[in-house]
Amino acid sequence: MAASLCYNFFFLPPLYTFTITDPTNFAAFFFFTVIAIVVSNLAARVRTLAVAAMARARTTDALYAFSRKLAGVGTLDDVLWATAYQAALMLKVRVVLLLPGDGSIVVKAGYPPEDVLDQADLAAATWAWEHNRPAGRGSDTLPGAKRLFLPMRTGRGAIGIVGIDSDKAGPLLTPDQRRLLDALIDQAALAIERVYLVDDLDQAKRRAEADRLRSALLTSISHDLKTPLAAILGAAGTLRGFARKLDDEGKVDLLSTIIEESERLNRFIANLLDMTRLEAGSIKLNTSPQDIGEIVGTALERASKMLARHNIEVEIVADLPMLELDPVLFEQALFNLLDNAAKYAPPETTVRVQAQQEENTVELRVLDEGAGIPPDEIDLIFDKFHRARKLDEVRAGTGLGLAISRGFIEAMGGSITAANRSDRSGAVFTITLSIPKPAERLDTAA
């Protein structure tokens, strides 16, 4: 327009006025002006479109970045926090996210952080959740609420609620912003669903693992209970039915079988009870200062029958400090290690029990001279129902002893590890126990 006026002023006679006298010139001026107006309008349109396109591109970029961020986070809390943060940042609003829980819908995340909603907002959020439709500020339902609540939906239905508000007067969101929010919500809903699915999968895996353990338990129980029972029943039945045909030696043999198998059954049941107590978390510690050497002595005494054909060597450093232990549990843990050594180390070999003081700990070792532990099983050896491979037929172990040892030792704050001996073949089990602080210790005055 300015250009048309200049053209008129400078070039159309009469010169230096805005008056147009010649009709030809008038027509020319008119066309010129019209064209100028059209062109300038077009240019403005193009620029507006370009600006809008750039904004959309930025939004798309941000959404893309957001979706990548969501794909990378694993926990529900992370997903919620990222969503709240992103929505608050892009829309310049305050955001709360609500998920079902405790029978209703509760605030799980917010940016800026928010824990509770007032009554009106809670009612709007609940309505939005129950009806799977928007509610609150600027909507048809409960418009008195401070926030606008929108359901987050996936293919399986509403998964949560997002609530937004801002201090700005008037409409909360422009249509563009609303579309952006919808896009954000869709992505967040998918991410939340993904987290749920992973959780479900984990639970399914855990259930499968529990099932596997349960069937292993049943196999183990039925085998370990029935084998000694069969021997006992058989021996007792033979004694009753054929006593007259048996010589004294035969009778004593059968009686010994009954006693030995009963003892085995008793040990197995004791193990099962211990394991059950551990699993139920019903182990009551009864700790007091204990002399390690004394407990080693009682454990060896209890294990003397099963270790009758092994050599036993005890090397316990004199004047070890007293340790805070539950003597009954510790003796059982040690007994199970000795039982294990008796099973896996052949007769006439030496089982060694060593105890020595390290800086702040006492280390108790049980070393045997058996074949050792296959390297790939070292990490598994304390697992329930794990039995060393290929040896099942020879040793009727329960696969519980070492798991119980570990459970008891850890309950007392100690640790237990398994390894192979470096000096020769054989396994070494090490129990590490911390020494109470000097103030709690006793002077060994005579």
């Binding site: 211990d274 009864n286 050497g293 316990i316």
Partner: protein, 229 residues
């Protein structure tokens, strides 16, 4: 043993256990009377038993309560308690309430008979302690206060001797930490002092102190001197 057989009251709700005890104790010359519950047990007290075998898990009364009632009637009656594994607290409580000893189910008949003999020792030996106590390589002269291991004199501190004397006097019987602490020290003292003295005594009288054969540890309960054969 006395001319008349000793009478044992068996209190257990399991018929197979009562039958086993009747037969097993019968072979050793004991006469048994048995009760399936606490009520019957109290009624049978009029028969003046010489010893009671008491299962702590009874259907009608808590075993410890019945123990208290029996003890209230007869202060000197030896009582051996039958209890289950892992329940050390109940064993200690039973011993504190005056039970003489305990056997953990399942038990062997020999073990039960050994406990009964120890509990009856003072009845069986009316003349009191023999002057010289012998156990393996160990001999203890309670009159002259001389302790020998393989005929070598062993020097004990007064407290160590006092501990050994208590154990010898109650040979074969379990002595709780609480009992020993009370007998050995006039003032309340931590149980770990007792452990220290036991360790020292073992160093002096056990052939292999790492694997004690004379002073036995009853884990979580106390100590027992092995009874001479």
């Amino acid at each position: 043993m006395n001319a008349t057989p000793l009478k044992v009251l068996v209190v257990d709700d399991e018929p197979p256990i009562r039958k086993l005890l009747r037969m097993g104790l019968g072979t050793q010359g004991f006469q048994t009377i048995d009760a399936p519950n606490g009520k019957a047990a109290i009624e049978l007290m009029v028969e003046q038993p010489d010893l009671v075998i008491l299962d702590l898990g009874l259907p009608d009364v808590p075993g410890l309560e019945l123990l208290r009632q029996i003890r209230a009637r007869r202060e000197d009656l030896p009582i051996v308690v039958l209890s289950s594994r892992g329940d050390e607290a109940a064993k200690v409580e039973a011993l504190d309430l005056g039970a003489d000893d305990y056997v953990t189910k399942p038990f062997g008949m020999e073990e039960l008979l050994a406990r009964m003999r120890a509990a009856l020792r003072h009845q069986l030996q009316v003349h009191g302690d023999r002057p010289i106590f012998r156990l393996g390589d160990l001999s203890v002269d309670l009159v002259r206060r001389i302790v020998k291991l393989r005929d070598q004199k062993v020097r004990l501190s007064p407290k160590e001797y006092e501990l050994l004397r208590l154990l010898v006097h109650n040979a074969g019987k379990v002595l709780t930490h609480k009992f020993l602490l009370r007998e050995l020290w006039s003032t309340p003292i931590d149980a770990q002092y007792l452990r220290v003295y036991v360790r020292q005594l073992r160093q002096k009288i056990e052939p292999d102190p790492t694997r004690p054969q004379y002073i036995l540890t009853e884990t979580g309960i106390g100590y027992r001197l092995r009874a001479p054969d």
